[in-house]
Amino acid sequence: MPARFRLTEGGRIDRSNPISFTFNGKVYQGFEGDTLASALLANGVHLVGRSFKYHRPRGIMSAGAEEANALIQVGEGARTDPNLRATQIELVDGLTASSQNCWPSVEFDVSIVNNLASRLIPSGFYYKTFMWPASLWMTYEKVIRNAAGLGKAPEGPDPDSYDRTFAHCDVLVVGAGPTGLAAALSAGRSGARVILSEQEATLGGSLQSEPNLEIEGKPALEWVEAARAELEGLENVRLLTRTQTYGYFDHNFIGLMENLTDHLKEKPANLPRHRLWKLRAKQVVIATGSIERPLVFSDNDRPGIMLASACRTYLNRYGVKPGSKAVLFTNNDGAYAAALDMHKAGIHVAAIVDLRANSEGPLTEAARDAGLRILTDHAIIATAGDKRVKAVQVAPLSADGESARGGGEKIDCDLVAVSGGWNPTVHLHSQSRGKILFDDSHACFVPGDSAQASTVAGACNGSFGLGGCLSEGHDAGLAAAKAVGFDGKGSASAPSAEDRDFLPARWLWLVPGDKPLGHGGKHFVDVQNDVTAADLHLALREGYRSIEHVKRYTTTGMGTDQGKTSNVNAIAIVSQYFGCPIPDVGVTTFRPPYTPVTFGVFAGRDIGDLLDPARKTPMHALHEQAGAAFEDVGQWKRPWYFPHDGEDMHQAVNREVRACRDSVGVMDASTLGKIDIQGKDAAEFLNRIYTNAWLKLKISSCRYGLMLGENGMVMDDGVTSRLGENHFLMTTTSGNAAPVLAHLEEYLQTEWPELEVYLTSVTEQFATVSIAGPNARKLLAELTDDIDLSAEAFPFMTFRQGRVAGIPARVFRISFTGDLSYEINVPASYGAALWQAIMNTGEKYAITPYGTEAMHVLRAEKGFIIVGQDTDGSVTPIDLGMDWIVSKTKDFVGRRSLYRADMDKPDRKQLVGLLTDAPDTVLPEGAQLVEKIETGPTMAMLGHVTSSYHSPNCERSIAMALIKGGRARMGQKLYSPQADGKVITCSVSDVVFYDKEGERTRG
């Protein structure tokens, strides 16, 4: 059965293709080509939501992106979107939609009491009321979020996929109305690569709502159809429909969101739901048209009150009667077209209420000729009706238009079509930082000079007649193509059409009501945020002056619609209050996105496993087989510890640590950053980068180095080996390899370009296996026959090349555990083979794989720092007690900073050891330390614990800490108050806890 308010013919819907959908649990019928809004209106459903603050019944106020009332929740469960505009939702079979912001239902909403209590909820209510105590804000917020707020977030992860793509074009044309089509045609014909983006599924824009207009002497839609066919045939033109151009950023970078599947009943598995286009356009033609402005009058928000142009769209495009008995309320001639269309469609036009002192103009005359009742110099001073408007009170205006004369006449109606003029959709132009000017004749903001390579054309440029739109669009497209080097030959002349805009008009920004402002009746300025003219006046009385402040205080023009219908009215009402011209008030910033963008497109495919790459060493699979627990170090997956059956982490780590001191342990150190440094000035370069001396390092020797920032703070450390006269291999901490390489390159390229040095990251080219413990030498001896491992032939801090397990290897005798240790580097592809060979051969020594946790304990036993754990960007080598590594005879990066007066302060934090009084107590890392426990809430903090472990080899807890003047406090008792109120007592010690003479390392 056709819906009650559907016309039997006309419109751009397909009556042979019925669609069922569900709204608020009830099933309705619509047609292919409908939006949710048009289908609801066809079924006589006007009440679709409740307002944000007062929970007033709200209907559909527009037919496009500017919709501020009919915000709808579409879908259910995990597949749901809040705050979609019913006017932009394409109807699809099985669509499930519901009202938002109402409980228990849109018909009966208990929070409507907010409306009765509205005098208690003025602008700035939340700022004023919930100021104190701050701790209660969490409670307030929950209540407020339930009572106010818009739609609901999905329950569960998004089941759809999203995509992102990059694109480039010569000319982007935004909007496929008459202006945009003309621009795309002229640019496309010239040969430029053109993208034409259109937010709707179909082309033509406003022409789709115009039954009477002609272009080139033919019905306008025939011209649209021919334009579509021609553009589709041009290989250099791409049409992007259902694509919202939501943001205009620097250097003609444009964000577009394409909707690929929302309108499909069956969603093809190969298509993403939405696609983000990151587009760089050489030239942009902004042809985004204009949006009709509502009038600000008393209780102008009831369901059934909508923009006059929306009435026309529902009638002409969707074949829907938005009411049976209508009143047109206008300040201009153009809106009379709505009265004429309604009259023709059989809607009873009860009256045309015209604010103008003289009702004149071509359409006004046509209405007069049609016998329609015109009430000149009249205003709607009140409206009635709860869930749908049912009557308006109409009265003549006083001479100045600031009040009504008499109580007026009541006119019954179920539809009020409103027009307050038109606002060019200058959002994108404003986002591009183009200037905005005020057009006095049309009383609207229009684009001024462009700041980027863009042009604005058509209604968006304040050119409201069709003829002007077509010629401006044509010229803009041609100029854009010429600007990128196309000659424009082959381009026809601009299509011609009648050029007539909506003037004459009268600008009465605040329509008087039957009661004084703020004393009954609400003059809504921003319906989405429930901001009234009285709220604006209150903010001004309270002293707000800047329009940006008024906007934030009252929230007018904020929210998902970004003030598309409210901004100019708000600015005009403010200007009137101050008695200054509108341009003096200024205009608030238009921010992206133009309409909300799905979060999913920004994430695209970078979700789940693809969020961040996981880097794995060549031995990773073996570690997995061994049951390793892993930890993330940067992007690397590193074995954390290798638990045996029944072991917890603590037990496993203790076992691993003991094995490295008692027999031999083995660790995968492949993640250490490795930088190959070559060139005749390599030694000189290292000498400038590191704090210690490098020129005389012998070939085949290794040296530990500290690297500082120019501010003197420790940046990285590691061992670098001299492979040849002009060849070094630097190691960096695992997480710091890329920043260190960048640091080196920066100095090499920008400060010392005279040095001949080449840097290559070789981290992933080598696998590194570290064996440590008293049996390390014996084990290695069984695996190599061409390296003399004796302490004399292969001393500590040297390296040899040879074969290990038959694999060509670089063997470094260096140690991070403090025990006899070798780091064996082999080509990455041999990593697993080497590991396996070492495990097999090591069996007789009970070889124990150990992870990063055991490594941390081992190095802490020796007092070795980890940059980034024991340092934090405010720590110098001197603070670490590492003066021995700082050269006094040469310059290096950061050197001068070490001689600043502040560096000598005795209360600088210094690295020391801590021993707890109770040997079994392990201080938490990050714990604060104080000299004495105070009773008050604040205590003077001396520093904090940077590393803390149970040391099985010391058979007690050990910790490292940065403590003010720490080295002068040896033996001093310090206290660490804990969150649970307990206090851990400890004493300051040397930072080396085990084998202080280093005999094990060198043996």
Partner: protein
């Protein structure tokens, strides 16, 4: 998002680059003789120019090379791109915003 014309790779998105602050600040060779204030000036203090600013960029996700850019900090327009160690080209410093 800026489009930066890397002198070695051509125009690329800003996300491929890293910023290096003000250009043409030479690391002092005689830092021994600088006062703490003078050294601090070098390490910490950059100009915050409104208008044309000469700055350093590095093509981190590309050729890894450093170069200089003349950019208007008001309009974000890039007026010139030139190699490290060379003098900035003659610029038309007309304000276009």
């Amino acid at each position: 998002m800026l489009e930066i014309n890397c002198p070695y790779c051509g125009p690329r998105f800003e996300t491929e680059f890293s910023y290096g602050g003000e250009a043409h600040i030479e690391r002092p060779k005689d830092s021994e003789n600088l006062s703490d204030e003078e050294w601090g000036e070098y390490v910490f203090m950059n100009s915050n120019t409104k208008g044309v600013f000469l700055e350093r960029w590095v093509h981190t996700s590309g050729c890894r090379r450093w170069f200089n850019v003349a950019r208007d900090t008001v309009s974000y327009k890039i007026l010139a791109v030139y190699e490290t160690g060379t003098e900035p080209p003659e610029l038309d410093l007309r304000k276009d915003v």
